[in-house]
C-alpha cells in the first residue's frame, strides 16, 4: 500500500481510515501517522520567545489536511539527539541544553531506564500472578519519562496520569507505594508533598488543570518552581486539557505540558483525536511547543530543560509532544492483539529507548561488564524490593473505610461507622 495523505480521506471517515490502515498495512499506518504528526518545523512557536526555531524546507509537496491547514513536513520531523542506532547527532538548538550530560550522566540515565523497565515488568508479573489487580505498563516510554523527570528540581511539582510510574520512581516514590493502589489496599500511593508529585488522576486530563493552578500559585508566591503536567495523546481531546492551556497561557503560568504521544488511547490511534500533530495545537493557545523523539532520552532532557527554563524565567507554559510508542497493552486487562499491527510494533522495537543508549555507551567504551552487572543488580534488587513490599501489603482494617472523607471526624459518619462496627461485631460474637 502506497503512502496516503489525509487530504484524500473524506473528513468523517478518518477514524475508519485509521482502523483500516491498521488492518491492512501497519508500516504505512505508522508513516502516515507520522505524516500527520509533523509540520514545517520541529519547534513550534507563535511569538518571540527563547525556544529555538528550526526552519526546514518540506521534502515533499505540501499536503492539505483541511481547508486552510498548513503543509505537513517530512515524517522524521522530531527533535532528536540520539538515533536508534546509537549515533549522537548534533543539533544546534539542543546541544547546549545537554552539554553537561557526559558519559557518567548518560550511564545514570541508562540505569534509571533499565531499573524502571525491570520494575514495570515485575509489576506486570505481579498482576499475572494475582498479586495486583491491574497494572498499566510503560514499556517503551522509559526515555520520555526518565528524561523529563530527571530534568526537574526537587521543588518542582508533577501532576500525572496513571502510567507515569517511571516519573514517580525518579521523584523518589517508595517502591511499595508504586504498587499500593494497584493492589487495592489504598486509593492512592504516596504523600504528594513528600516527593513533589501528586498521585495520579485516572480521569483523563483532569490533572492538567491542577498543574496549571499550582503554577498560578507559584507566580503568586514569587517562586520559580514549575508544575509539570503529564498526559497522553488521548487526553488532548479532553476539555480540561484545552481549558488548562487557555488558563496557562493567559495567566502565563510556569507549567510544562508534557504530552507522551504513545500512539494509542487504549485502542484508538492518535489519528482519531488529531488530524494535525499534537504539538501544533499549542501555538494556537499562545503556547510554544516542541516535538521531540520521545524514545531519545537526550532530546527529551533537552526539551524539558528548555521548557523549565522558560517557565522559571517567567515566560509561561511550554507544550512538549514526546513521540513514543506504547509497546505493551493499555493495562494488563487489555488485549492489544485486537488492534495493534505486529509489523508496527516491530518497527518500534527497533527504536527502543534503552538500546540506543546502550549502543552509544558501547561506542564510547563505557558499556563495560561492570556497568551492566551493576545496573542489572540494581534493577533486580529494586524489583525484589517492590515484590517484597507488594506481598507485605495487607487489606486495611474494615472500619478505615470511613477515614479521611473529611478533614475531621464527623458525627454523621461516626454514626454510620458505629452501626457498621456493631454489625461486624455480630459475626465475631457468633
Amino acid at each position: 500500500m502506497g503512502r496516503r495523505s489525509l487530504a484524500v480521506v473524506p473528513w468523517p471517515d478518518i477514524g475508519q481510515w485509521c482502523l483500516e490502515l491498521h488492518k491492512s498495512d501497519g508500516a504505512a499506518m505508522e508513516r502516515n501517522m507520522l505524516r500527520q504528526d509533523v509540520s514545517r518545523t520541529a519547534v513550534r512557536t507563535s511569538a518571540d520567545h527563547r525556544v529555538p526555531v528550526t526552519d526546514r524546507t518540506p521534502q515533499e509537496p505540501p499536503l492539505r489536511v483541511s481547508p486552510g491547514a498548513e503543509p505537513a513536513g517530512p515524517p522524521d520531523d522530531v527533535l532528536q539527539l540520539l538515533t536508534p542506532e546509537g549515533v549522537r547527532r548534533s543539533h544546534a538548538d539542543l546541544d547546549d541544553w545537554v552539554a553537561d550530560v557526559g558519559d557518567d550522566e548518560l550511564a545514570a540515565l541508562y540505569e534509571d531506564m533499565v531499573v524502571v523497565r525491570r520494575l514495570d515488568l515485575e509489576a506486570t508479573a505481579l498482576q499475572r500472578q494475582g498479586e495486583l489487580g491491574l497494572w498499566p505498563p510503560l514499556l517503551g516510554q522509559e526515555a520520555a519519562q526518565v528524561g523529563s523527570a530527571r530534568a526537574l528540581r526537587r521543588d518542582d511539582f508533577v501532576f500525572s496520569s496513571y502510567r507515569e510510574n517511571a516519573v514517580a520512581y525518579c521523584r523518589g516514590v517508595d517502591l511499595t507505594d508504586l504498587v499500593r493502589v494497584w493492589r487495592g489496599t489504598t486509593a492512592s500511593g504516596w504523600d504528594p508533598f513528600a516527593v513533589g508529585m501528586a498521585t495520579p488522576t485516572i480521569i483523563i486530563g483532569a490533572q492538567t488543570l491542577h498543574a496549571t493552578g499550582y503554577a498560578m500559585g507559584c507566580v503568586k508566591d514569587g517562586a520559580d518552581s514549575v508544575a509539570v503536567a503529564y498526559f497522553g495523546d488521548g487526553a488532548t481531546s479532553e476539555g480540561d486539557v484545552n481549558e488548562a492551556m487557555v488558563f496557562a497561557a493567559t495567566f502565563r503560568a510556569p507549567v510544562v505540558f508534557f504530552c507522551q504521544n504513545n500512539q494509542f488511547a487504549i485502542s484508538e490511534p492518535v489519528g482519531l483525536v488529531a488530524v494535525r500533530p499534537l504539538a501544533d495545537r499549542a501555538p494556537g493557545f499562545g503556547i510554544p511547543s516542541l516535538r521531540v523523539d520521545g524514545n531519545d532520552v537526550l532530546a527529551v532532557t533537552a526539551a524539558t530543560r528548555i521548557a523549565l527554563d522558560r517557565a522559571r524565567r517567567g515566560e509561561g507554559p511550554t507544550f512538549i509532544e514526546a513521540v513514543t510508542y506504547r509497546r505493551g497493552p493499555h493495562t494488563t486487562s487489555d488485549d492489544p492483539t485486537r488492534y495493534v499491527d505486529p509489523a508496527v510494533a516491530e518497527e518500534w522495537c527497533a527504536k527502543d529507548p534503552i538500546l540506543r543508549v546502550e549502543r552509544l555507551l558501547e561506542s564510547r567504551g563505557r558499556l563495560t561488564a561492570e556497568l551492566t552487572a551493576a545496573v542489572t543488580e540494581h534493577a533486580d534488587a529494586a524489583a525484589a524490593e517492590m515484590r517484597r513490599g507488594c506481598l507485605g501489603l495487607e487489606a486495611p482494617p474494615p472500619l478505615s473505610v470511613f477515614d479521611h472523607v473529611y478533614t475531621a471526624p464527623t458525627s454523621w459518619l461516626e454514626r454510620q461507622k458505629s452501626q457498621y462496627a456493631a454489625y461486624l461485631a455480630m459475626f465475631e460474637e457468633a
Binding site: A187, G213, F247, S411
Partner: protein
C-alpha cells in the same frame, strides 16, 4: 450591627475572609472589574488587587480545576459559578477530584475550596438560570453543601465555609439577594457551627423543614397557619450535607408531623432523604406520613410557568393540612 442586603452581607463576608487570610483568593467569571453579575464581589478587586480577585476565562471546569491546583499550593480559593445551571462543566472536577482528594490521599491533600453558586428560581429568568442542583452535590461524599436564607447567615456561613478545611459548595438563594437584615459582622465564627440547623419559628403541630430561598416562604406559611390556630415549627437546615437530622428529629418527636419543602425536583431530592431518615429514626412518633412540597419532576420551566413549579405558601399549607388529616387538595383524590 449594620443593615445589609443578603448580597452585601456576602460581600462583607468575602472582604473579611480576604483580610483575615492572605491565602484566600477569589476567582470566577466577571468577579473582578464588574464585581460579579450579582455584584457580590463588588469592589473587592479594587481593594485586594487582581492577584487575589481574579477574573477567569469562561470555563467552569478550568476554574474549579485550577483552584484545586492552588489548594495544592496552600491557597484557599473561593470560586464563583455564575449561575446554578453553569456548574455542570465543573461537575467532573467537583465530583471526581475535589470531593475525593482528601480521601484518596488519606489526608495528605486538603482542598479548602469554597464554590459559591447562586441558585433557585423566582426571578423570571431564562433556562439554566433558576435551577436547584443541590442534590447532585449532597449525594457526593466528601463535599459539604450549605445554603443561607438571611443576611446574617450569608455573612457568617460564607466565612465559616472559607475557613473550613473541607470543600464546601455554598448555595446562595439568588431571589433573596436583596432581602435586608441586621448583620453583626463581628459575630464569632464558632458560635453556631455551619452544619447546625436553626429553628426559625416555634410550633407544636407540624415540623416544616426547608432551606435557602424557601425559608421566607415557610415563615409566611407559618404566620398564615397561626391565624388558623396551627403551630408550625419552621426549621432552616442551613447545611444540606451533612443534614442536622438530630434537630429535625427532636422537632418531629415533638410535633409528630413532618413537611419538607424545596424548589428542587422531588425525585431523589433532599426531601426524600430527610423523610426516609426521620421515618427510620422516629417512625412511631409520626402521626401521618411525611409530605413533600417540591418542584415537579420536570426540567425547570419557562418563566411564565415557574409560579406553578415553585412551592408557595398555599401549596405548603395544603401539605400541612394533609399531615394534619384535614381537608386538602388530595382529599378524595382517586389518581
Amino acid at each position: 450591627m449594620a443593615t445589609l442586603t443578603l448580597a452585601a452581607a456576602l460581600t462583607s463576608g468575602l472582604r473579611h475572609a480576604l483580610e483575615d487570610d492572605p491565602k484566600v483568593v477569589v476567582m470566577g467569571e466577571d468577579v473582578g472589574r464588574l464585581g460579579g453579575v450579582f455584584r457580590v464581589t463588588d469592589g473587592l478587586q479594587k481593594d485586594f488587587g487582581p492577584d487575589r480577585v481574579m477574573d477567569t476565562p469562561l470555563a467552569e471546569s478550568g476554574i474549579v480545576g485550577t483552584a484545586v491546583g492552588l489548594c495544592y499550593r496552600g491557597y484557599r480559593p473561593v470560586v464563583e459559578i455564575q449561575f446554578d445551571g453553569f456548574v455542570f462543566p465543573a461537575f467532573d472536577q467537583l465530583v471526581t477530584q475535589v470531593a475525593k482528594l482528601h480521601y484518596r490521599t488519606r489526608g495528605a491533600v486538603r482542598v479548602p475550596l469554597t464554590v459559591r453558586i447562586p441558585y433557585g428560581g423566582g426571578i423570571g429568568a431564562v433556562e439554566h438560570h433558576s435551577e436547584s442542583p443541590e442534590a447532585y452535590f449532597t449525594h457526593t461524599s466528601g463535599l459539604r453543601v450549605v445554603t443561607c436564607s438571611n443576611p446574617q447567615d450569608a455573612h457568617t456561613m460564607l466565612r465559616q465555609a472559607i475557613a473550613c478545611d473541607d470543600p464546601v459548595v455554598f448555595f446562595e438563594p439568588k431571589r433573596r439577594y436583596w432581602t435586608k437584615g441586621e448583620v453583626d459582622t463581628d459575630a464569632p465564627l464558632d458560635d453556631v457551627p455551619m452544619e447546625q440547623a436553626r429553628v426559625v419559628t416555634r410550633g407544636d403541630d407540624v415540623t416544616l423543614v426547608t432551606y435557602g430561598p424557601l425559608v421566607a416562604t415557610a415563615v409566611d406559611a407559618a404566620l398564615a397557619a397561626r391565624e388558623d390556630g396551627i403551630g408550625i415549627e419552621v426549621l432552616d437546615l442551613r447545611s444540606l450535607s451533612p443534614v442536622d437530622l438530630a434537630t429535625v428529629e427532636e422537632s418531629v418527636r415533638h410535633t409528630g408531623r413532618l413537611v419538607i419543602t424545596h424548589e428542587a425536583q422531588q425525585h431523589g431530592g433532599l426531601g426524600a432523604e430527610i423523610a426516609a431518615s426521620i421515618t427510620e429514626r422516629c417512625f412511631f412518633h409520626l402521626e401521618q406520613p411525611p409530605a413533600r412540597v417540591t418542584g415537579f419532576d420536570v426540567p425547570y420551566p419557562a418563566a411564565k410557568l415557574e409560579e406553578h413549579f415553585l412551592p408557595d405558601v398555599d401549596r405548603i399549607l395544603d401539605a400541612v393540612d394533609r399531615v394534619l388529616g384535614r381537608q386538602n387538595s388530595l382529599t378524595g383524590w382517586k389518581g
